[in-house]
Amino acid sequence: MGRSNPVNPDELAAGLLKGDRRAVARMITLVEDQDERANEMMKLVFPHTGRSMIIGITGAGGSGKSTLIDHLIGRFRRMDKRVGVVAVDPSSPFSGGALLGDRVRFQSHSLDEGVYIRSMGARGYLGGLARATTDVVRIMEAMGNEVIIIETLGAGQDEIDIIHVAQTCLLVLTPGMGDDIQAMKAGIMEIADVIVLNKFDLDGAGQCLRSLETIIHTGMSEDKGWAPRVVPTIACAAKSSDVHGVDELVQSIMDHQAYLHRSKKIEEVRAERIEQELGLVFKDEVEKVVFAGLKGTGKKRKYIESIRAGKNDPYSVVEEVLSTFLKEEILE
């Protein structure tokens, strides 16, 4: 089954559902490559998804996300859950290359067959990364992982798109980020269900904790039901005795999940996820079908020429294309 060999969607999907790890790997690659066969496969996979616990973790580089995940994997494995991890690195889009080093931190699970880890680079297309991530999470669900952890870097809008698939979102901060925290007040409220204040042994940790709590209290409206929690942790320590806060973190995650289920919010969250996926797939497919479709007809060049010559503008062109296109398609 060389990468250059043709791939049969049915066979792959069947392999995946049987838990064939290589089939899973290959399928993720097709999704990443935006291979035209991917959609067919995803159709076969989709019915087997939607039941896993999905946790998202984001934060700045060096905040200790991977180490935290390493601890989380350990805890979930102790609960006998199968765990899937999607480690997304949206950085370095220019050269197109990526150096994905998260596996170094997941060392303690490097032989555990109950853990499936996949590293993903940005490949120079940030928008597409969100789409690919949602698909990968579905694949990991279908292969039978009960917990899926999505890790991504930073907290910009693109990263928020990536993380939005998750039911419980963790934002990892470290002391000494005071100014940044002020600046991202809104972002925090939007995405974080749990705020992890990692490296709590560093100077200024207490101060930071207090200002985070203030932000949450002042920003919190009573009817929301779940107030973001701040959990101080020390995830990265040479001695196991120096690791702190992981149990509390797991507890907070479980509490949030319990809240979602208890309040039926989980359905809302799942619907939101589907809405987002639909949006992403739409954007992608419409672009693919419409914009790429123009390419073959020679019309694209004509439009570009007319815009360049000052006879037209991009807005009118899109309007025109869409209206004629939609008419034709829908009327058919």
């Binding site: 040479a238 001695k239 196991s240």
Partner: protein
């Protein structure tokens, strides 16, 4: 710049000459005038480059503060440097045999190097160790191994350098001292050294064995013990060399090396020792890379910086504290497997640079190191290189023969200036311990290593056989290949298994408990380690016990539990 690829030399003698290539070679000039560390050199240096220099204060004569020109006035006329070859071939018995060979051929000091498993603090029967016991050095699991290694070598006569760098240096000293005492030697008369620089060793792949606090604790225990009990012993060789091998530049090498040295010094002072009690026995391991003149300047700068540091920062009064004593190891990273005999040329230049810089102890790489462990032939040639420099070239007649050279003096100043900048940078990060803890230094190493490779990729640095004058790859190693005997490895594993079954467990347990208590009370662990070694505690048992007291897993690889619970 394009270069022709020269094919196998024996084939096709009768080719047509490419005259364009020839002319390019004929009119060739250096493409870069930067030193190996990247500093611009001027076309020429003149007396003006030494304007404003204060000879007495900043250079001085050899044997006088600040020792720029050497730590002894008569240098090699008093004594040659010690010519060492590093030996470590699997089992203690095989290693002993090679050591004897080196003595027979004129080696004047003995270096034995620990293997990976020993440095990691694992016994040979550890699951991670079994594949790799003895691959890169000698494995010492317990007292009897050390006894075998020592054999009939007279410890009061030979200057022995024990190359154990990690926290395992503490068990090494314990084992060595125990054997010496059992053989009836007065340990206060033993001469030699132990590498004992666990802090730096985290950067050489031994992080699990070298957490920072434990590194400072055990490293300083050895230093303190030797300061009190073994006045002729050099209890640390702060290893700038290994740092350089990571891809650093010359001034970075000395800046970070001195930074690490200061971590130990600060701890020893915290323990109540005076700088002049211990600083005279502080030694360094320095690299000599291929840029001969830059390396000489680097070492001269290091001597000056150490002298000033001791005097001004630590208030040393004893001039011996201010003398920068160092061993040189020629740069392994300058050697390549392509056209391997060329390495003999490189090693000779690097060794020459070390001697011109006034080295105290020199180890030449074996030319075959990019391929395998040194062969006997390789070892011998490395030794011969030193002997030729010593006896035939006449460079040993004069202390600091390059002193006064406009270029060298100016480059020495440059090295010092740059190294001070790097030290300042570390200070700004919060000091060396913080730079290590925050992995600032890791990132620096990574950046520099990538830069070094890019310099080659982009032809900014030229290396014969890498990016110029390349030939078809060799099919064989000219003077043979060294292999480690499987038998020796297996016997090492079996040996420790048998030993563990046959010990007096009560005595052992008692000694281990005592070691644990000593560590827990914050006292020096070496005496307790010596006692435990006598009850046949193994290397991993000694280290594991102390590790647990410090809150680490008993086993650095986190597989085995302590048998003493």
């Amino acid at each position: 710049m394009t270069r022709k690829k020269v094919s196998a030399i024996q084939a096709q003698e009768n080719r047509e000459i490419n005259w364009d290539d020839y002319l390019q070679a004929y009119y060739e000039k250096p493409t870069s005038f930067r030193t190996w560390s990247g500093y611009e050199t001027k076309e020429l240096y003149t007396p003006e480059d030494r304007d404003g220099e204060n000879y007495r204060e900043n250079i001085g004569e050899a044997g006088q503060y600040p020792f720029t020109r050497g730590i002894h006035r008569n240098m090699f006329r008093g004594r040659y440097w010690t010519r060492r070859e590093v030996v470590g071939l699997g089992s203690p018995a095989d290693t002993h045999e090679r050591a004897a060979y080196c003595f027979k051929n004129g080696g004047t000091g003995l270096n034995t190097i620990a293997d990976v498993t020993y440095e990691m603090g694992l016994d040979p029967d550890h699951p991670w160790a079994q594949q790799e016991v003895g691959l890169t050095g000698v494995n010492i699991a317990h007292l009897q191994d050390m006894e075998t290694l020592v054999g009939d070598i007279p410890l009061d006569k030979v200057s022995w350098s024990l190359i154990t760098a990690s926290t395992a240096a503490a068990p090494t000293m314990a084992q060595y001292v125990a054997v010496a005492r059992n053989k009836g030697y007065d340990i206060s008369r033993l001469r030699g050294s132990v590498q004992n620089d666990p802090i730096h060793f985290r950067y050489c792949g031994f992080r699990p064995a070298c957490p920072l606090d434990l590194s400072i604790k055990l490293g300083s225990d050895v230093m303190e013990f030797c300061t009190r009990e073994m006045p002729k012993w050099y209890y640390t060789t702060v290893n700038m060399y290994d740092l350089r091998e990571q891809g650093l530049t010359a001034p970075q090498e000395i800046a970070y090396g001195l930074g690490i040295a200061m971590c130990y010094i600060d701890e020893l002072i915290r323990r109540g020792l005076h700088i002049d009690d211990f600083a005279p026995r502080f030694t360094f391991y320095v690299s000599c890379h291929i840029d001969i003149l830059e390396e000489i300047a680097k070492i001269r700068a290091a001597r000056r910086m150490w002298a000033k540091l001791m005097k001004d920062k630590y208030g040393a009064k004893d001039h011996r504290s201010m003398q920068f004593r160092f061993a040189v190891h020629t740069a392994g990273c300058s050697l390549i497997p392509q056209q391997p005999l060329n390495n003999l040329v490189r090693i000779a230049y690097e060794a020459l640079a070390a001697v011109l810089a006034g080295v105290q102890s020199l180890h030449c790489c074996s030319y075959d190191e990019p391929m395998c462990l040194p062969t006997e032939k390789g070892h011998l040639q490395a030794l011969r290189t030193q002997q030729i420099i010593a006896y035939e070239t006449g460079v040993t007649n004069v202390a600091d023969p390059l002193g006064g050279s406009y270029y060298i003096e100016s480059l020495t100043d440059k090295m010092e200036e740059e190294a001070l900048k790097f030290m300042k940078e570390v200070e700004d990060v919060g000091g060396m311990e913080e730079a290590i803890r925050a992995e600032w230094l890791d990132r620096r190493f990574e950046q520099e290593a990538v830069k070094r490779q890019k310099e080659l990729d982009q032809m900014e640095k030229l290396v014969v056989g890498v990016n110029i004058f390349t030939d078809e790859p060799e099919k064989t190693t000219p003077l043979g290949v060294q292999r480690i005997s499987n038998i020796s490895t297996k016997s090492q594993i079996e040996g420790v298994r048998k030993l563990k079954m046959s010990r007096d467990m009560n005595k052992l347990r008692e000694a281990i408990n005592k070691l644990r208590d000593t560590a827990a009370e914050g006292r020096n662990t070496i005496p307790a380690m010596i006692e435990a070694t006598q009850t046949l505690a193994t290397t991993s048992e000694l280290l594991g016990t102390v590790r647990e007291v410090f809150g680490y897993s008993y086993d650095p690889m986190n597989i085995i539990e302590s048998p003493f619970k």
